[in-house]
Structures are given as C-alpha cells and as structure tokens.
Amino acid sequence: MTFDWKKTALALSLAGGLMATGPALTPAQAETPDNMLVQGMRIDDIITFDPAEVFELSTGEFIANIYDRVMMYEPEDLSTLVGGVVESWNFSEDGKTINFTMRPGQTFHSGNPVRPEDVVYSLQRVVILNKTPAFIFTQFGWSPENVGDLIKVTGDNSFSITITEDFSPGLVLNALSAGVASVVDQKLVEEHAVDGDMGYDWLKNKSAGSGPYSLVEWKANESVVLNAFDDYRHGKPAMQRVIIRHLPEPAAQRLLLEQGDIDMARSLTPDQIGGLVGNDTVKIEFYPKASLIYMAMNTTNEILSNPTVREALKYLIDYQGMAESFLDGQYIVHESFWPSGLWASADDKPYTLDVERAKELLAEAGYPDGFEIAIDSLNTSPYMEIAQSMQQTLSQAGITAEIIPQDGSALWPKYRARRHGLILARWSPDYVDPHSNADSFALNPDNREEAQLTGVLAWRNGWADPGINALAIAARNEANVDLRHDLYNALQRLHQRVSPFAIMFQQNEQVAMATNIEGFVSGSNFDLVFYRNVTK
C-alpha cells in the first residue's frame, strides 16, 4: 500500500489556502468616526510630555495642543504674536521688566482656575529643573537662585518677569511663545510631586494643561490619545478625540489612508505622495516649515579654514537641481539661516551651481587640483541623496568626497566634538524669533575648545567672527522693531558670504489627508501644529 500523498496534499492545500487567503474575520473599518481625528506618523522620538523638557518634534507638536502658553501664535493668524494665558502686557522704562495681566475665566483640564501663580510656577520650574530647553529662559539671566525674585506674582491676576540681559523685548515675548512657556496646573502637579521633583516624573506621561486637548494615554511606540477639553477658552474642539498612531513605515501609512483607517498620513516620502496624485479620496496639502537642511564646514580642518575654499564649496552645490529632482517639492531652495516666510527673513540666494567659479576660487586658494574630504551625513532620506549629489558636483572641481552615512546617535557626538569634515544636518528654530537661529549659526562668544559651547553650531564648526558676533548681539538687543528687522537682514546677508555654513533647503511639508478634513493648521515651527480647528 502506497503512502496516500494525495490526501495529504489536499489537506495541505486547504490549510495553505486558509493561511494564504485569511478569511475576513471582521470587516475592515472603512472610515474613522466623524468626531475623531486619526493620524498616522512616526512618534518613536517621544521621551516625555513634560513641557519643561520636551524638545522632540512629535511631543513639541502634542504639547502645543495640550497647553496654552504665556504668548502664542494662534492657528487663525500664525503671523501675529498674541497673548495666550495673558490678556495684556506692558514694559518698564528700561525694557527689562514685563508686567502681564491674565485673561479672566480660564480653567485647567482638572477644573482648577488658571492663576498667575501657575504661570510663575511654570516658568520657574523650567529654570530650576534645567533640562535641555531651559536655555531659552536662562539666556535672560535667570538661574535657580534668582528666578524666585525675577519671576513673581504681582497681584490677583498679574505677574511680572524681569531679565538681567539687554535683550530686545520682542525677543523675550517670542521666547514666551516657545513650548517651555507652557502653563502647567501647579496644584495638580504638586499633588504628584515626589521628593521635591516638581512633578518631573509624573509629567513624563501625564498632562496638566489648559489647552484644547488633554493627554489621555501615551503608549510608547504605539499611540498617543488626546481628548477634547470642553471648556477651552476658544470653544470646544470639533474633534472629540485625536489619536496619533505610530506607523513607522510610510507605505503602511499610505495604505491606511487610502483605506480610510486613518485621516492623515504625516510621514510620507515624495514617491508615496506622488502615488496618491489622482486618488479622489485623498488630498495633498503643503505647509512651509522652518526646518532647514544645511552643509557645515569644520574650520578646524586646515583646508576648510580657508574662507576662499569655503566660498568655492558653496558654488559646488546643485541647489536647484536637487530641489527639482529627488526633493520633489518637499524642500525649496533657501540660503539664509532664518527661514523664509518668517519676520526678518532674507530670501537672497547668492549661490548657484557654478563649477567654473568654484575652480577659480580653489586655484586662488591654492587647491587647483582639488583635495580629499569626508561628508558626514545622516543615513536617511533626503540626506543621503543630497550627499551623493554633492559628491558628484564636488568631483567636477577635482574634490574627492567620501560619504560617511551615520545614524544621528553616532553623528551628533561627532559633530559636537568637532571631528567632522563637511557635515549635512538639519536645524529648526527653538522659538519664532530670528535670534533663535542667529544664536546657533552666527553668535559664537568663545571659540576655544575649552569653552565647550557644544550647543552652538558656529562653535561646533570652529568659527567665530567678531563682526558677525557684534551684529548678532546688536540685533538681539535692539528694541526698535524696524531697526531690528534691518539688522537681521544685514546679518543674514553677511553670514551667507563669510560663514562656514551653506544653507541649502527649507522644508515644505506635504501632508496627505482625507478630502473631508478641513482646518488642520501646520505652522512654520515644529510646535505650531494645531488640531482644534479640524472638522470633517
């Protein structure tokens, strides 16, 4: 009797068919509820929801919807700075003290009223905890020792702040629109404080705000869930719940969007976006962002210390070619350190690809046959493509560039230690004021190795220019708005010529969403993204 392979094969076929086809055990959810916004994006950068520590792209956006700040840019008009929890303010004669009056009738999600004590506590907390974004406030001369005297309650609905430095009042107000100026519910936070930590541990995955949404749950690497705050001062948001799903694979985001399982896909690549063109159920919206991609040149490198060489390299970048090819609308050419569309930005583009000009400069600098250099780059798109394009254009002038792709976790320590040659990196402003970027790209008060100004991009590239420093400080401190505007324009133009930075591109975010989504606002900065006006 032979082995009955036919029965075995039949059984296997049925089982394999079951495995391969998978019956629909539940019908796929075709649409999200009308009162719920579901977004798909990459959110594995979240490490905390404490506004005194948040400095990541994802959480910066989330806390903008959970907390109101002292000053704010509202989604209705992103170009105008207005009071957030404050209704009005005035300056002392010397411009160093600002007196604020609170908006009446505001409440936190907990039901506690928003008081000047909460604002003072929130601002002091940032300085005392001294986490990464604290420098936004400590630059004003605030320290854990003096912040109790310099930030204080002055009345039932008023408080004041005093700075010790000669900063422009406009700069101070803009800094108070940053994420660190989020107002937390002091009473609620202190109820959960442990060993005097000011609620640091508790706020990692909880919220205590007065914004349009409250944090319901953060499941690391899975989702963030926000619930609407019915008593928000601008009215209850239309979307009762906002769910942000962690979908690390852009292709999966696209599939879910097309199937209606999510309303918005926030991390699509250009080819994914291109594939959605012509899809009637999806629309693509464009949002100019303040994120910049730049190439920096380490002037501690002997070759790159020559300003003529650096100028030559700026002529060996195919800005327009890249923007029109693989960047495909997601980035536009921008060549100054303050992004286009923001107050005081200079939109000059003095550099284009000009190999002949570059060769002349290289010959003048003593490198007629080029040289060898390394390009340190993030190992993700579009940095690798940009690096490859640069490698090709540099070679036209005899420069042999070796690309060293790295993850950020390996690249940033190298950058901070001044061990790079050329480097491709990105930068976003910390707050919406030109000093935010000038403080990194231009101002370097101490270029010595011992100074360890590792947070300053100019220092990382071993560059300090007395003229640039003076101009940056003058612009920072100028109280007259028009003069300040002109000073920043002049600073940017000079910076383009003499600095070791070739600013190349500014992000133009492309967000794919269902056609019935309206009211989503994504402003220039990473934390100016608002859900409260979204409707379906």
Partner: protein, 357 residues
C-alpha cells in the same frame, strides 16, 4: 537477619542517595550554566554598548543640549565611574529586579518588557505553529515523492519562502490582503476602537480576550495577527519543510525501512510510525531554533505591521543608546533561548529511549 539483606538494603540506600546527589549536581550544573550565560550576555551587551560610538547622554538630553545640561546628565547616569564599576552597579540593580528606566518610554524597563514581549510571543507562537503544521507534512510529502512534481513544488515553495525578504513580503501582503481584497485589517494589534477593552492579564490579546469572554476583541485581534503571523510563518514553514525533507530522505534510505515494507506494514505506518519517529529528535531542534529566532523579534515585520514587539523595542533602544532597554531585552531573549534549549532536552528524553537511559 541475613548479611546479604543488610548489604542489599545498604546498597539500595546508597543508591537512593547517589541518585539524589546526581540529580542535585545536574540541577547545580544547569543553574551554573544559566548564571554564566546571563553573566556573559549582560557583560558583552553592556560593554559593547559602552564602546559603541553612540552617546547615551545625547540620547536623553538631545543634540541641542548645552554643555552644562549634558554634564549634569553624564554625572547622573554614573558615566564618570570606571566602566567595570558601572557594570557592577547595573548588575546589582538587575539582581534586585531593577532593570532601570528606558530612555525611549520613560518607564521601568521591566514594565516595557512585560508589555512588548507578549506581543512578540503571541506572534511568534502562531507563526511557528503555522510553520510546523504545514511545514512538517510538506517536508514528509516531498521526501516520499522525491523527484516528482510535488517534491519540486515543495522545494520551490521552500526556496521562495526562505529567500523572499520578509519586509517586502509583508508590504505585498498588506497591499493584497488589506488594501485590495480587504480580507484583513491594517497594521497594529487591534483596531483603535477596541483598545483597552480587555484587561491585560498575559499581554497576549487572544488569551486575554478569551479570558475576559470578549469575543469581539478576540475576533479583531485574530484578524490583525493572521497576516503578520502568516508572513513569519512562511519563513518558518520554508525552513522546517526543507529540513524535514532532508531528515526524512536520510531515514527512508535506511534498511530498516525496507525491512518494514517487506514485513507488509502499510506505507503510512512505515513513513509516519517508523521513519518520521526517527527524525523527531532532529525536528525538535529545528523547531526550537526557529521558535527562538522568531521570539527575538522580527523587527522588519514589526515595523511593517506596526507590531509593538520586542524586536522594534530593542532596535529602537539600540539606536537611542538606551542600554537599560537593550540589556533588559537581551536578557529576555537569552532566557528564551535557554528555556527552549532546556525544553528541547526534556522532549529528547521523552522521544528517544536512548537518551532516557
């Protein structure tokens, strides 16, 4: 009392004590082996983490941190201490159940492991079961019909399943079965509307839903897991089928098989009772290795299907220099390998009388 009786009883008593001693020594050897394995695992992972060109401080404070913030965190993390002191401190914490806090989740690592590992356990178990229940019969079928069409089909299926990049297979699977046919839901373990409906007991949604008697959640969880499990199961199936075929071919050529046939036994009995019985021990090894490799987490499958498993957790931890999470995950994976090895040994004893004796 006869002298012989006393001597016999003495010998019997000594025999019992000897057996107990042998058993105790065996247990001690196993425990010592386990301890050395974990020590080696944690030491290697810890020291690799410290010598990698990744800055664990920057992973917490971020690239933009000023130097004073960086320095404060550097001291807080104890990184100013000699590396062996850092390791010993960490080891001391682990032995008291403290695996530290994860940078990427801000939660205790032990909590993360209890959350992420069951997701992988569930997925890997179903994938392995699919691989075994399909792969083994396929391998036997191919071996019995060596050189015929069915053999070629099985070998091609195995080759494709083993060669196809699982990432690509996952995306194609989503495209076909989710986007086009709508037979399965999209990535994730559950539809968002079912999230949090059943209390987490084991962390494995199918079991938790069954325990809670919530068959809607069970249904939804099953529909979510079937596609990623099938993708991983294809890989397991391909490997198991190939190895089963190879083992079976070795046995079928043996003389005892010819003898069994000559004696008039049915072909089914010859193949399944005699030939297959002699490959079981080898198959246990293969299946154990396959299961263990799936348990360490398939990060690509987890990425495509947004499956919050331990593969993604450890990979993200590595890129974030979150060494607490990396070492914690390594210990879990190491435990799986050791546990599966021990289980395999036990199964050998049950299957092979020679091992028992």
């Amino acid at each position: 009392m006869a002298v012989g009786d006393v001597a016999t009883r003495r010998r019997a008593g000594q025999g019992v004590w000897a057996s107990l001693l042998r058993a105790a020594l065996a247990v001690a050897r196993v425990l010592a082996s386990l301890a050395l394995t974990f020590l080696g695992l944690t030491a290697i992972t810890f020291f690799i983490g410290r010598v990698m060109p990744i800055d664990p401080v920057l992973a917490i404070v971020g690239d933009r941190a000023r130097q004073d913030v960086y320095d404060a965190m550097f001291l807080q993390m104890g990184l100013d201490k000699p590396i062996y002191i850092q390791y010993l401190r960490y080891l001391g914490d682990v032995l008291t159940g403290n695996f530290g806090i994860s940078i990427q989740t801000s939660r205790p690592v032990i909590y993360d492991l209890l959350h992420f590992f069951p997701a992988t356990l569930e997925l890997a178990t179903i994938a392995t079961l699919l691989g075994v229940f399909l792969g083994v019969p396929m391998g036997v079928l191919a071996a019995v019909n060596q050189g015929r069409l069915i053999d070629h089909v099985v070998r091609i299926v195995g080759l494709i399943g083993y060669s196809m990049p699982v990432f690509w297979l996952g995306m194609v699977g989503l495209l076909i079965f989710y986007a086009r046919l709508q037979w399965v839901p999209g990535p994730g373990r559950l539809d968002i509307y079912f999230d949090g409906l059943v209390p987490p007991v084991t962390g494995m949604l199918l079991i938790d839903a069954a325990l809670a008697g919530d068959w809607n959640v069970f249904d939804n969880a099953l529909s979510h897991i079937i596609l990623p499990a099938s993708i991983l199961g294809t890989y397991a199936l391909a490997y198991i089928a190939r190895m089963t075929r190879s083992f079976m071919l070795d046995q079928i050529r043996q003389e005892y098989i010819l003898t069994a046939r000559v004696k008039g036994l049915s072909e089914t009995r010859v193949i399944w009772r005699h030939a297959f019985g002699n490959v079981l021990v080898q198959l246990v090894t293969i299946i154990g290795l396959t299961y263990a490799s799936l348990l360490e987490g398939s990060v690509l499958t987890e990425t495509v299907f947004s499956w919050p498993g331990i593969g993604q957790y450890i990979t993200n931890a590595l890129f974030n220099s979150d060494m607490n999470a990396v070492i914690g995950g390594t210990i879990v994976v190491g435990t799986c390998f050791v546990g599966i090895n021990m289980l395999s040994d036990l199964i050998y004893r049950m299957l092979d009388p020679r091992v028992r004796s």
